[in-house]
């Protein structure tokens, strides 16, 4: 190898080093601003929900429900609700249909398990009907048509009667899947 060749090799190596470092430095500078905010943007995915225990909420008096099992709609008012930085007190967070049978009450979420539209109770046909995509549900909440858009029946939640009042544990569930999985 001649001296000149060595020099060219040196030059080549030097240039390769410069190009690599330049690309490295530029890439670091270009990516840094995005990286600096990535954990914050991903926060909703990575944060564990603190709503592990769903509180019991009083909805109405048992006596106000018709004994024949006709569903009645009630708004659900929670004592304390946090939305990011704001803490609300006594704020409506949703609605349920309550249906009584004897001393037992079943609570159905107003939201359609298909895609979350508000379900109507139709007194004429005595069933539930979602006006968005025409899912229909029987009074017990079950899907009534074979190819219903809704993959499952209406979502029920825990209820109890205490001192003549109806209490529920209000929950929302993941839409459009066959299983009933609480949102968290």
């Amino acid at each position: 190898m001649t001296e000149k060749d060595e020099q060219t090799d040196d030059n080549k190596n030097r240039r390769k080093f410069i190009v690599t470092s330049t690309i490295g430095a530029s890439a670091a500078c270009a990516l840094f601003p995005f990286a600096s905010g990535l954990p914050s943007v991903l926060d909703p995915v990575t944060k564990k929900s603190d709503g592990a225990s769903t509180p019991w909420t009083k909805v109405t008096a048992l006596a106000s429900l018709p004994e024949d099992g006709t569903p009645t709609k009630f708004e659900v008012v929670l004592e304390k609700v946090k939305d990011a930085w704001t803490t609300y007190t006594n704020i409506p967070v949703g609605a349920v249909y309550l249906a009584r049978s004897g001393d037992k009450v079943t609570a159905y979420n107003l939201k359609c398990p298909h895609l979350g539209c508000a379900i109507d109770y139709r007194s004429k046909s005595n069933d539930y009907f979602c006006p968005c995509h025409n899912s229909t549900f029987a009074l017990d909440g079950s899907v009534t048509t074979e190819n219903s858009p809704s993959p499952r029946g209406m979502d029920t939640m825990d209820t109890k009667i205490e001192d003549g009042s109806v209490w529920i544990r209000f929950q929302q569930f993941r839409p459009n899947i066959a299983e009933k999985i609480p949102l968290s």
């Binding site: 670091a28 601003p33 995005f34 600096s36 905010g37 954990p39 914050s40 304390k80 990011a84 930085w85």
Partner: protein
């Protein structure tokens, strides 16, 4: 892959564009002195990206701005870091702008044929300063609120249209929702968009005339890629490192207490505006806000023409150095004046205390829809010290200050109430020298009263040894939250001492002869039943002239309740605050 690249190139011509961008000739070789423009581009890019990410968390209204920033800062993963980078990058931008500008001025790069580009640069300087100004209002904390109030009041100094400009920017007469929405639109929309436009023209003009080469040329000519890009990249990395270091060292950007127009705050702008702040102490606002800036802008636009001759160029460079030296001097003056000012220091500490307190309550109790400022306004801890400062501290002190930490100008004329009615406090009170000192009754008529002259001054050594026991008895009646109660037996024993059952005090010097405890009779001196307790203190502050307390012998203590100087809930707040903590003497 190659086919795809070829197709893209064929349709877009990207290769020749990249080639043109990267293979620009750099006469005289790559140099460190050329890095500032690239650094500024990098910093601006970072601000656009981090700013957009911050946008995902920010809510511009008077009840949600501070709150959303607080939430990002304390409850979102890495939120403090994101905000810190944006905050310190903004400051780096100012520093880099000055460096870039001085580089251009010293090298004479502002002269023909680059006049137009110099003017664009000056405009970008203006937009960047406006970005800074609009940016620090957005968290809606005390600093942003009060500093912006000053800045927007200066706008009104512009003749004829000034007041209208101020209203347009503020969104009305008062600062509120529309001040935030407007500042936010300016900060995240109008100004960055203008800056992008200006940057494009600036870079286009720069490429048109090529780099301004500083003679002598150190090396052979080379190209922008990769030699100069490497130097630029390294410089950008250095800026990045500095910003990350600052962000981590200070754990992000500061967030003051939520803005409150009723709560004073020592308004100071960010450090890069301090020179202007200081200048306004010497010149009328009209000169500081209109005449001087107008003259400077005019000079800057004429600068390329003045610089045509050697003497003119030297004048320009000299004038810039004078401006910078003047700004540095004014900034230093502003800082040293603030540091020498005890009240300013106390005000800063008070603001820091309120900020910490605000965050603590917000985290513990949650923020109501009325916003975080309502939490601080209702907080007894915060209100107690402020009520004490405004209603009690002209005579009384609290640990020597006004309750918040501010020194007081008026001479002390009543007792220092830190640790009031605690064992320590009463023990000291019962010592003649302390009793007549300024810390207790030295500033009052009681200094020469019976208690001082005929009782405390006369106690024998034997009697003096009993006084701490009396203090324990009295303090027990105060039921202070930080002191433990006496057991019944001990209390009975000490009561015996108070009643002088065993004649341990000589006639005329036993407590019971003037003061009562647990008896129906009315004594000659204040009734000490439950002395310092919540009930006693509230009743005392309501009416110290009541026969239960000083009666006619009251010395200047106002009857806050009887004369409606304070509402009863305010008296309760002061009392609860006074009783909450021991003194820290």
């Amino acid at each position: 892959m190659k086919a795809l690249m070829d197709w893209i190139d064929d349709r877009s011509g990207i290769r020749s564009l990249v080639k043109e961008a990267l293979y620009e000739k750099v006469p005289g070789g790559a140099r460190w002195r050329y890095v500032w423009g690239s650094c500024l581009t990098f910093v601006f890019f970072t601000q656009v990206v981090t700013g957009t990410l911050l946008w995902m968390f920010y809510s511009p209204s008077t009840q949600t701005a501070w709150e959303s920033v607080y939430y990002l800062e304390y409850h979102v993963a890495g939120g403090w870091f994101l905000r810190g980078v944006h905050h310190y990058m903004a400051q780096a931008m100012i520093v880099l702008l000055v460096l870039h500008l001085m580089q251009v001025v010293i090298d004479g790069a502002y002269k023909a044929p680059r006049e137009l580009n110099f003017w664009f640069g000056i405009m970008m300087l203006g937009v960047t300063l406006a970005l800074s100004l609009t940016g620090y209002l957005l968290p809606w904390d005390q600093k942003g609120y009060w500093a912006t109030a000053v800045a927007t009041n200066l706008m009104a100094e512009v003749p004829i249209i000034g007041p209208a400009i101020q209203k347009i920017v503020v969104g009305g007469v008062e600062y509120g929702h529309h001040t935030l929405t407007r500042f936010f639109a300016l900060h995240a929309g109008v100004l960055p968009a203008s800056l992008v436009g200006l940057v494009v023209v600036h870079i286009y003009l720069f490429r048109k005339h090529g780099i301004h080469v500083k003679e002598p040329r150190p090396k052979r000519d080379s190209y922008f890629w990769p030699d100069q890009v490497l130097k630029d990249g390294v410089a950008c990395l250095a800026v990045l490192l500095a910003v990350v270091t600052l962000t981590i060292y200070f754990h992000g950007a500061p967030l003051g207490p939520p803005a409150d127009p009723s709560n004073e705050f020592p308004a100071r702008p960010e450090w890069y505006f301090l020179f202007l702040f200081q200048l306004l102490k010497y010149v009328p606002a009209f000169w500081g806000a209109v005449i001087i800036p107008a003259f400077l802008v005019l000079w800057m636009f004429l600068q390329p023409f003045i610089g045509k001759t050697k003497a003119g160029h030297n004048f320009n460079v000299g004038f810039w150095w004078t401006l910078i030296a003047g700004s540095v001097a004014l900034t230093a003056l502003a800082i040293s004046e603030d540091q020498a000012n005890l009240k300013h220091g106390a005000a800063i500490e008070e603001a820091n205390w309120q900020a910490e307190r605000g965050v603590k309550i917000a985290t513990n109790d949650g923020i109501p829809t009325a916003g975080a400022v309502s939490l601080l306004r209702k907080d007894p801890e915060n209100l107690g010290r402020r009520l004490f400062a405004s209603h009690c501290s002209s005579c009384h002190r609290y640990n020597g200050h006004d309750g918040r930490g501010y020194p007081v100008d008026d001479p002390q004329s009543a007792a220092d109430l830190a640790g009031f009615a605690s064992v320590e406090w009463i023990t000291e009170l019962l010592d003649h020298d302390h009793y007549t000192s300024a810390k207790y009754f030295g500033g009052t008529e009681f200094k020469d009263g019976t208690m001082a002259r005929k009782v405390l001054a006369k106690y024998t050594e034997e009697e003096k040894k009993l006084l701490p026991e009396i203090a324990r008895l009295l303090a027990n009646g105060a039921e202070l939250p930080y002191e433990s109660a006496l057991d019944e037996e001990k209390k009975e024993e000490l009561l015996g001492l108070f009643y002088n059952d065993d004649f341990k005090f000589e006639d005329g010097r036993a407590c019971i002869e003037c003061h009562d405890i647990d008896s129906e009779e009315e004594g000659y001196a204040p009734d000490l039943t439950g002395y310092g307790s919540r009930e006693w203190l509230i009743a005392f502050i309501e009416n110290p002239e009541d026969s239960r307390f000083y009666g006619k012998k009251n010395d200047r203590m106002p009857c806050y309740g009887r004369d409606s100087k304070l509402k009863s809930e305010e008296i309760e707040i002061v009392v609860d605050w006074l009783r909450s903590k021991p003194s820290n003497f």
